[in-house]
């Protein structure tokens, strides 16, 4: 393993470029699992999501979760990017890309990371409604807590 990449940014990201950074020139990687989370328009009712975050803690917390993934699975590369600010429907919010020799490890690490990011990374989503009415803060889901809990040992 050669470390990992964590970026918290307002700008969009390029999935293909991130995948290339993980795999170009490598001949020892057998599997890459890439997760992309996108903003949905909720059947036309959502104009945008505004993602507030806690600068520095966001990077630190994602790095902590990344270290935990690396301790659990023999990964050969790992990139995590999380955007903040105003994000429109159809735009990408988050990317997790895990490279490993075998697919099971790459799948498990990517799913673990997403479950932990959802519940542990200091980001909060506020909805901007398409009809101009005041949007609310997205509520944390019990389902996400349950998803994170299944990884606890």
């Amino acid at each position: 393993m050669r470390g990992f990449t964590v970026r918290v940014q307002a700008a969009p990201f390029d999935t293909a470029a991130e995948e290339a950074l993980l795999t170009d020139g490598r001949r020892d990687i057998g599997a890459v699992v890439t997760f992309i989370g996108l903003c949905r328009d909720e059947a036309g009712t959502l104009a945008a999501l505004e993602l507030e975050h806690y600068p520095d803690m966001a990077e630190a917390e994602i790095a902590r979760v990344a270290e935990e993934a690396l301790a659990r699975w023999p990964l050969q590369g790992l990139t995590i990017i999380h955007r903040h600010g105003v994000i429109k429907p159809g735009e990408k919010i988050v990317l997790v890309a895990a490279a490993a020799r075998h697919r099971g490890e790459a799948f498990a690490a990517a799913e673990f990371l997403m479950d932990y990011l959802k519940t542990q990374a200091p980001f909060w989503k506020k909805e901007h409604r398409a009809d101009g009415a005041a949007g609310g803060w997205v509520e944390a889901k019990a389902k996400d807590d349950a998803a994170a809990a299944r990884w606890r040992r």
């Binding site: 507030e52 917390e61 919010i93 519940t119 542990q120 990374a121 200091p122 980001f123 909060w124 509520e139």
Partner: protein, 83 residues
């Protein structure tokens, strides 16, 4: 001691951050929540249900019973909804 607020905690209090000087008997995150909640209407509203409040000490997740003795920065926020 620097205190930061995020999301609806920030909106209810009406501040993103402030310096506070709680009395010596405020030793834990939970104590600080109770002390802050008494500072005014917005604070009371923000901290009305402590179970929905998450806290971080110097950018690390903390619990209600965590000691704030050595913390320089304390943040309060709702359960996270990133990803």
């Amino acid at each position: 001691m620097r205190v930061l607020y995020f999301a609806w905690v920030r909106e209810r209090i009406g501040l993103a951050e402030e310096d506070v000087s709680p009395p010596r008997e405020v030793t834990t995150v939970g104590d600080l929540i109770a002390w802050l909640a008494a500072r005014g209407e917005g604070y009371a509203e923000a901290f009305a249900r402590p179970a929905t409040i998450r806290a971080a000490l110097d950018k690390t997740h903390a619990r209600l019973e965590s000691s704030i003795a050595t913390a320089r920065e304390i943040a309060f926020f709702p359960p996270m909804t990133g990803g």
